[in-house]
């Protein structure tokens, strides 16, 4: 899996590269629109992470050119401007997903995985950790083979934790993911514990075999069975 990161902020590129590397993705970088276009038309990537504010050629123009050149690589747009209009413009230009700055790495990773999964056209939309599985397409959850009824918010919480398996996710990040950035995550993060409690009850997550672990002060984590 090869990902192209296009951003004019060297530190941000480095940070993204580190994290993606840890997740065993191959990365390539471009500091501006011109370099990005050169690379996109030169190499086949599985995903492009594209900032909108770029020197030389801006992100939207780059995106347009990529799509005009009939390259269907999924593009994840990053932008400092977060208004709905900007999102619509980005998506209309052919972006596959859109993430406003500042974002949480967990959110970015979840979206990267979701985009890659969609692009690889794997019909397998089933995520499984131990005896709990979650279908991202049909939005069904099974615990030990038994279907579980979840509210949409509870499903979002679980899905996000699944996507970020083995990573501690803060209440704040969860709140932001579940409710979106118009909502005040400070209000919402106060209620994340309630969701986790309900989730645990519904999927039969008990003290003896903890699936969603609480990390004091930080948040929550779902880990593979090994630990």
């Amino acid at each position: 899996m090869k990902i192209l990161i296009v951003d004019d902020e060297p530190d941000l590129i480095e940070e993204l590269r580190e994290t993606l590397k840890q997740q065993r993705y191959e990365t390539d970088t471009a500091p501006d629109g011109e370099a990005a276009l050169d690379k996109v038309f030169d190499t086949v990537y599985d995903l492009v992470i594209l900032d909108i504010m770029l020197p030389k050629i801006d992100g939207l123009a780059v995106l347009k050119e990529i799509r005009d050149g009939d390259i269907k690589t999924p593009v994840l747009m990053l932008t400092a401007k977060g208004s709905v209009e900007d999102r619509i413009t980005g998506l209309d230009c052919g972006a596959d997903d859109y993430l406003p700055k500042p974002f949480a790495m967990a959110e970015l990773m979840a979206r990267v995985r979701s985009l890659l999964r969609r692009a690889s056209e794997h019909k397998d939309t089933l995520l499984t950790v131990r005896d709990v599985s979650l279908d991202t397409k049909t939005r069904e959850v099974f615990s030990g083979g038994v279907p579980v009824e979840l509210t949409p918010k509870e499903f979002s919480v679980l899905e996000f934790l699944f996507y970020n398996k083995n990573r501690a996710i803060s209440r704040f990040t969860l709140a932001e993911h579940v409710w979106g950035d118009e909502f005040d995550p400070f209000t919402m993060s106060n209620f994340i514990d309630v969701h986790i409690k309900n989730l645990r009850r519904k999927i039969g997550d008990s003290e003896t075999k903890r699936l969603i672990r609480t990390i004091r002060g930080v948040g929550f984590i779902i880990e593979d069975g090994q630990e």
Binding site: D11, L12, K153, R167, F186, F191, G217, V218
Partner: protein, 467 residues
Amino acid sequence: MKIRYKITLWITATGVFVSLVFSLIIFMEMRELPYKSMDAGLQAIAQILGRLAVTEKIASGNRFAGELPVDLNQYWIRIYDGHMRIIYQNEMPRHVVLPVHNRTGTYTVTNVLAEKSNDLEGEGKEAAFRVRTVHLGKPGSGYIIQIARPVGELQDEVVDLVQNIALGLLVTTLLLIFLSYGVAGRILRPIEVINRLSRDISDKTLDRRIPLGKSRDELYALSSSLNRMFDRLQYSFDKQKQFIADASHELKSPITLLMLFMEGALQRKDLPDSFQQRLIRQTNILRRMSRLVKNLLDLSALELKRTIGFEEISLPGLLKSVLEDYADVFAAKRINLTLNIPEDLEVRGDREELQRVFINLVDNAIKYSRTGGEIRIRAARVGHDIRVSLYNTGRGISKADLERVFDQFYRVEKSRSLQYGGSGLGLTIVKRIVELHSGTTEMESEPGAWTQITITLPVSAESYKKQ
């Protein structure tokens, strides 16, 4: 007062004044004229009478008709000789006593008619006489002729004249009002066009300009001044927009970096507990800062926004979608939510912005509600407005704070901002968005008991255009 009325008033006033002066001059001239001809007549008769007296053709009682071209009975005549003896008087002086004197000249006297005479109608009526006294020959030996004539008809003529002038003035005034109202409209029409265009430009798009006329008159100057102002406005708007875009980029990129670092650090398991705790605190501060930057930039963008998209939005639909997102929160805080909104209530406005209003308001209500509290949302059409009010039980806000809750960065309890989060900009944003919809925002509170925010949005499209 509208300027059209003012112009009408001024033109009319000027016109009436000029007509008045003109009429006055005419009146003075016309009023003197009959007296002059009458005086000339009296003088002529007196001359003839004088000549007859000299030739001693007259004596008391003599009727010397035929000598004169007029009927003397119409006149009051008395002739004295040099020794002030009356040598002749006709019929009228017997009935009418006139306070005449012997100096040469012409004047008007009035007297009450003592009894009915043949030629003068009325008894006990006041009548005015025009008197002329003429001296003939040397003083002491000549004759003094006094001749008078009632001026009744003449006075009637003057009254007629005044009436005609007054009528003329009335017609002129009405005509003036009518015409000057039309003229004022004509004068103001281009100004109205300029006004409408500039309102359009300032409301809708700063890209357009007022078209300039061919003649370089005052309106041309006004239009080009306005256009220059729009140029400058547009320039500074564009500058500020660019600034916000740049600031967003410049502020959000480093915040993103810091967040990513903090998050990464929080994933580590080899850090001492106390350090981890500090890291968590720093992360929360960073998040608050990030939120603040977002709200600040949103607010600046809103301040720049001149127009908003308008569509018909179902108010209950919009509110329910917002409340749905909070459903779990309400349940968790055991808040009793009451909704009282007519199903068919529609507002005209920008869906995204109005959603933000309700998110901020509901968030606020939840934040300041106690567990097990109550939130009531009511909406109704009141006249030409739609009123939406959010009531929540809770600590409430003191009178002094109420005035400032919509101010930027104002928080009722600064010390608890960490606990409640928020940037202190939520209500400012609400107010600004409601203002963009030509609405108003109000807050009432009973300290220690409840708080209620009411927003009023106009219903009709016309009321939006007005702004």
